[in-house]
Symmetry: D2
Subunit: 250 residues, 4 copies
C-alpha cells in the first residue's frame, strides 16, 4: 500500500491520494505526475503549469476525507475529547460505533503501536467501509474491528482507559461500557440532540458514573487579509454535544 499524501494547489484544490512513483493524478487544475521519490514540501506542476505542493496529511485530512457512509466527527470535537479523557500514546480505548472510521483514525494516531483501539460497529456495510478507510491510512495495525452490537452482546475485551461513544442511543451502552472501562476513567459520547444528552445523562447517573459534564465546541474561522480582516461569514454552528462522565465503584 502506498503512503497518503495531500496535494495542495490552493484552498479549493486539495487532493488526498496514495503516493505511487510516477502516478498521474487528475485535478481540476490539470494533470499532475507524482515524482519517483516521496518528498514532502516539494512543488509540482500540472500539465497546464499550475503549482501543487506535497504536504504531510494531518489527522484532520486523514479523518475528514474518508469515504463517508455516516456523518463523521469534526476535529474540534475529537481534539477536545482526547484532552478531556486523557488518552495518549499507549492507551487502550474503546470506540462504538465505528461509523466511517474517522474517529478510529484519530484514535489510532494517538494511541500508537503500543496502544489499542477496540472499534465496534453493528451494521455490516459501515463496518466494511470503515475497515477500508482505516487500512488506507496504514493505521490498522493497532485497531481491532468488531462487527457486533455491544448494547445486546457486550464488549468482551480487556479493560480500557477511555470509551468513545458515537451511536444514536448512547444510554443503551452505559452498562456494557461500565463493565469494561477501568475504574476512575472516562466515558465520552457525542450526540446531536438535547434529548439524547438528557437520556444519556440519566443513564450515567444511575449506573455508577460521576462528574458529568456536557459541552459544545464551536469553531470560527478568521480571514486574515490586509485591510480586510474579519470572521468568515458562515460557519458550522452545531455538530453535537459532548457528554463526559467518570466511572467509580458502585
Amino acid at each position: 500500500m502506498g503512503k497518503k499524501i495531500l496535494l495542495y494547489g490552493g484552498k479549493k484544490a486539495e487532493y488526498l491520494v496514495n503516493f505511487e512513483p510516477g502516478k498521474k493524478i487528475q485535478t481540476h487544475l490539470g494533470v499532475l505526475t507524482l515524482p519517483e521519490d516521496l518528498q514532502y514540501g516539494k512543488r509540482l506542476e500540472t500539465h497546464i503549469g499550475k503549482s501543487f505542493y506535497i504536504l504531510f496529511p494531518t489527522t484532520r485530512e486523514l479523518s475528514m476525507r474518508v469515504k463517508r457512509t455516516t456523518t463523521i466527527i469534526y476535529p474540534k470535537d475529537a481534539g477536545y475529547m482526547l484532552i478531556e479523557t486523557g488518552i495518549g500514546a499507549g492507551s487502550k480505548v474503546l470506540e462504538t460505533g465505528t461509523g466511517s472510521g474517522a474517529l478510529t483514525i484519530i484514535l489510532a494516531t494517538i494511541v500508537g503501536k503500543e496502544g489499542r483501539v477496540y472499534s465496534f460497529e453493528r451494521r455490516e456495510e459501515f463496518f466494511n467501509n470503515a475497515i477500508k478507510n482505516v487500512k488506507d491510512t496504514g493505521l490498522d495495525d493497532r485497531v481491532e474491528f468488531h462487527l457486533r452490537d455491544p448494547a445486546t452482546d457486550g464488549f468482551n475485551i480487556e479493560p480500557v482507559d477511555a470509551a468513545f461513544i458515537d451511536v444514536p442511543e448512547p444510554w443503551t451502552l452505559v452498562r456494557p461500557v461500565y463493565e469494561v472501562l477501568k475504574p476512575g476513567h472516562a466515558w465520552v459520547s457525542l450526540s446531536p440532540t438535547i434529548e439524547q444528552v438528557q437520556k444519556t445523562h440519566d443513564a450515567l447517573k444511575e449506573s455508577g458514573f460521576i462528574r458529568l459534564k456536557c459541552v459544545e465546541i464551536l469553531e470560527r474561522e478568521m480571514l486574515i487579509r490586509h485591510g480586510k480582516t474579519r470572521p468568515k461569514e458562515r460557519m458550522v454552528s452545531h455538530t453535537g454535544y459532548l457528554t463526559f462522565a467518570w466511572k467509580v465503584e458502585g
Copy 2:
C-alpha cells in the same frame, strides 16, 4: 515520585495530588486519608463523612492544574492543534515557549515514550517552574528542556513533525522554525490579539509557508438538569487565535 490522582468530592471539590499510601489530604470538606494501595474509582470518606472518589487525572487536569507563572493553554485549543498538525504517538515536536508547561504535558502525553518534545523557554524562572510541573506528572522522560531564546540563537535540534508556538512575537520565530520543521509539516501559533495574527501571517507567507488558516475555538458548557436544561450563563469568550501553516520548499 508518587503518581498523580484526582480526588473528586463534587464540582467545587477537586484536588490533584501525588498519591502516597496513608497520606492525609486536607480538603475544605474535611481530612481524607489515602488508602494503602492506589485503586482508581474507589470511594473515600473525609473525617466528617463527605465522599470523595479517586479518579484517573486526565490530560485536562494535569495541564490545567500546573503551578502557573503564565497564562496557559486551554484544552479546547490544544486538542484542536493536535488534530490539525497531525501529531500522535512517536512524533517529534517542537514547543516554544514552555511557559508553565501545560502544553508540554499535553504534547508529552500524546507523543509518548517513542516520541520527543523539544521545549524552549528563555526566561529562567518560567523554565524552572515548568520543569518542576512536568516532572510532577512523570512525563519528563520524553521532554528535552532548553533554556534559550530561539529567535536569536536558533533551535539546533533534529527535524520535527510539528512546531507549537506560544510566544508574544511569533513572527520572530518563523525563520528559525523553517530551519527545523520537516518539509510539508505544520506550524501552529496561538496569539490573543489580531495584530499578532496579522504580523505572523505576513511573516509566514514571506518565508515559505502556505495553506495559512486562522481559527478560534469556543467552548460552551450545557447544564443538564431535569426541567432546567440550558447553556451556562457565563463563558470564557476568548483565549486566542490559532494560526496554522505548512512549510514547503522555497
Copy 3:
C-alpha cells in the same frame, strides 16, 4: 420629576440620576455639582478634579439600571424582539410579566405617546417596584399597569399588535394571548431553559399559532486597542431563548 441623565466618568464610573439644578452627586471619584441648566454633552468636574460628562441616557441605560426585583431582559434580546414582532411608533402591545419594568421601558420608548403598553404582573411587590421604575423615566403616560394573573383572569384589553411574554410558564398564557392578539400578529416569549421552550412550542402549535421560530442572541464585545485588538475574555453566554409565533384563524 427631574429628567434622567447619565453621568459618565469612565468605564467604571457611570451614574444614572435625576437631573436637578445644583444637585450634589456623590461618586467614587468625588462630588459632582450639577449645573443650573441641563445641557447634554457638557463636561463637569468633581471636587477632586475628575472629569464627568452629561450624556443622554439611552434605552439601554434606562432599562438596565432599574431597581431589580427580577432578572431583566438584555438589550440584545429586546432589540431583536422589536424587529421580529414589527412594532414601532403607535403600536399597542401587551407585556407580561412586568417584572422590574425593564422591557416596559423599552416598549414605552418604542410605541411612543400614540401607542400603548398593557403590562401585567401578578406579584404585588414586583408590580409596585416596576411602576416606580417606569415613572422614574417619565414614560409611564403610555403604559397601563395591571396587577393580575392573566393565566387565570385573562387580559380584557383592546386587541394588540404584539405580545411580549416573560414568565416562567409561557404555555399557560397561549390561550389568553390568542384572545387579545390581532390575527396575523406576533407572539414572542423569552425563556432560559429548553424545557420551557418545548412546552411553549407545543402549546402554540395546538392553539392556532404558526411560523414558530426559536433563536438565541449572543453579544460579544471587542476590545479595540492599538496593537492589542481582541474579543473580551469573558461574556454572558446565555440569557434565554426567544420563541416567536404568529396567530392565525382557527
Copy 4:
C-alpha cells in the same frame, strides 16, 4: 398603493406582496387569489389546495425583503442599535448610506410620524432603488432622502438624536456627524472588518467622542422538534462589528 402582506405557506413558501382585492399571486405551491377585504390571519388556498395565511409583515420582513443593490443590515444588528442609541417614537435620526433602504425602513417604523429619518446616499442607482423600496412600505412620509456625499458636502440638517453609519469609510464621516449630532447623543457604525473598526475608533477618539464600545451580535437558531431538539447546523457567523460612541463638548 396597496398595503404589504406576508403570505405564509410554510418555511420555504413566504411571499411579501402588495395587497390588492382579488389579485392573483403565483407561488411555487400554486396560484392564490387574494380576498376582497384584507383580513390578517386568514387562511387561503391555492388552486391546487395548498394552505397559505395572510400575516402582518413585521419589520424583519419589510427590511429583509427589499430589492437589494447592497448588502443589508440584519435584524440582530439593527435591533441592538435601536436600544443602544436610545431612539424611539418621535426621534430625529440621521442615516448614511441609504443603501437598499433596509435600515431606513426599520428606523422609519421606530421614529413614527412624529419623528424624522434623514437618509443620505451618494450613488444615484442605490438612491433610486432605496426610495422605491421605502415607498413600497408606505413609510416614506417620515423619511427625507438626500442624494449627496456628506463626507465632502456635510449634512445640513437639524440636530439629530442619533447617527446610523453604514458606509465603507465611516471615519470620513466622524467630523460631519459631530456637527449635526446633539451633544450627549450616540453614533453607531456598522463595519465588516477589523481595520475599519480600528480607523473609525481612532477618528472618534480624536474628534470629541467618548464611551467607545464595539460589539458583535450573533444569532443562532434552535430547532425545536419532539425528541430532536438542537441548534441549527449552520449559521451566519459574521455580518459586522457595531461601534458606538457619544458626542461631548470639545
